[in-house]
Symmetry: C2
Subunit: 144 residues, 2 copies
DNA sequence: TCCCAAATAGGATTAAATCTTATACAGAAA
DNA sequence: TTTCTGTATAAGATTTAATCCTATTTGGGA
């Protein structure tokens, strides 16, 4: 997904976020790649063209985006937070061989489990780990 | 769930784990409370009766249990690992008001999503956040 | 132009997890 | 029993994501 700076600007404004330069660049970074980067990924990528960009700004901006519901925080590996501009409910699968992160749709039955009836759910995290079909096929081919 | 040290001993041996004293106590701690403790919780609770217990041992032991499939690692809050003796597939819900962690069953449709056909899934993590029905009721009652 | 509140910078701090090295232990062999 | 060997544990240093604190900068309104 490649989005123009102007589109992002309008999108931020529409969500009551002042479109400062760091915010524009951080959102552009998130929107332009499907890699679910960490805060550190974002910082080290953007600091090249914005030498004064601080990590605090990255974290502040991401928190702001999350509060405004235009970014969500996801957990895939235990101990590092990742960020995703896709705020719809979907799960993530990380292949332990190729490290690629796949997204998958959630069954509506999961989204509101019967046993959580009358609970109000604000945040849904679903992430699986294993080996993707491509790496499984590759492993099989290597055996021949 | 209260389990005798002897039962735990047998259980560890059955899973090819030498039942050392730290291992017995760590497993007992996990089995006897439903709180999904962190490694630090376990350490600071047990260090009272085992003053030389080190964090390394706690982490090593938990890793061993996980590799042996008698404990699973779960993520509920972003940045701290928690541990659970219930290794069946189930989700966790954390109430942001009372902080209680509820467990809920997963719909079979989620366990093997169609879009991950031919993927091998080793680990399933599902955790939700929100407000539980009890805290919602309480809030409602407070308004009267 | 000046002022004020919000945004950002920069570095210190915290804390979970890992790593390193040394010591203790338990079982096997003599 | 004694010795040997590999495993388990201890203790503390190190790493690193995330937060916190304080100072500076920025931009819009008076």
């Amino acid at each position: 997904m490649s989005v123009s700076i102007n589109e992002i600007k309008n999108y931020l404004v529409k969500n009551n976020i002042k479109p400062s330069f760091p915010r524009l660049k951080i959102f552009e970074y998130l929107a332009s790649r499907p890699t679910h980067p960490t805060a550190d990924d974002i910082h080290s990528a953007l600091v090249k063209e914005m030498p004064t960009l601080s990590k605090t700004t990255v974290y502040n901006t991401l928190d702001l985006f999350i509060r405004s519901n235009i970014v969500r925080s996801i957990t895939i590996d235990g101990n590092e937070q990742r960020f995703d501009v896709d705020v719809t409910n979907h799960g993530h699968f990380k292949c332990q061989v190729c490290q690629i992160i796949y997204e998958f749709d959630l069954d509506p039955a999961l989204i509101n489990p019967g046993s959580l009836k009358n609970f109000r759910i604000f945040e849904r995290n679903v992430f699986f780990k294993g080996i993707c079909s491509y790496c499984l096929d590759k492993a099989k081919a290597d055996f021949k």
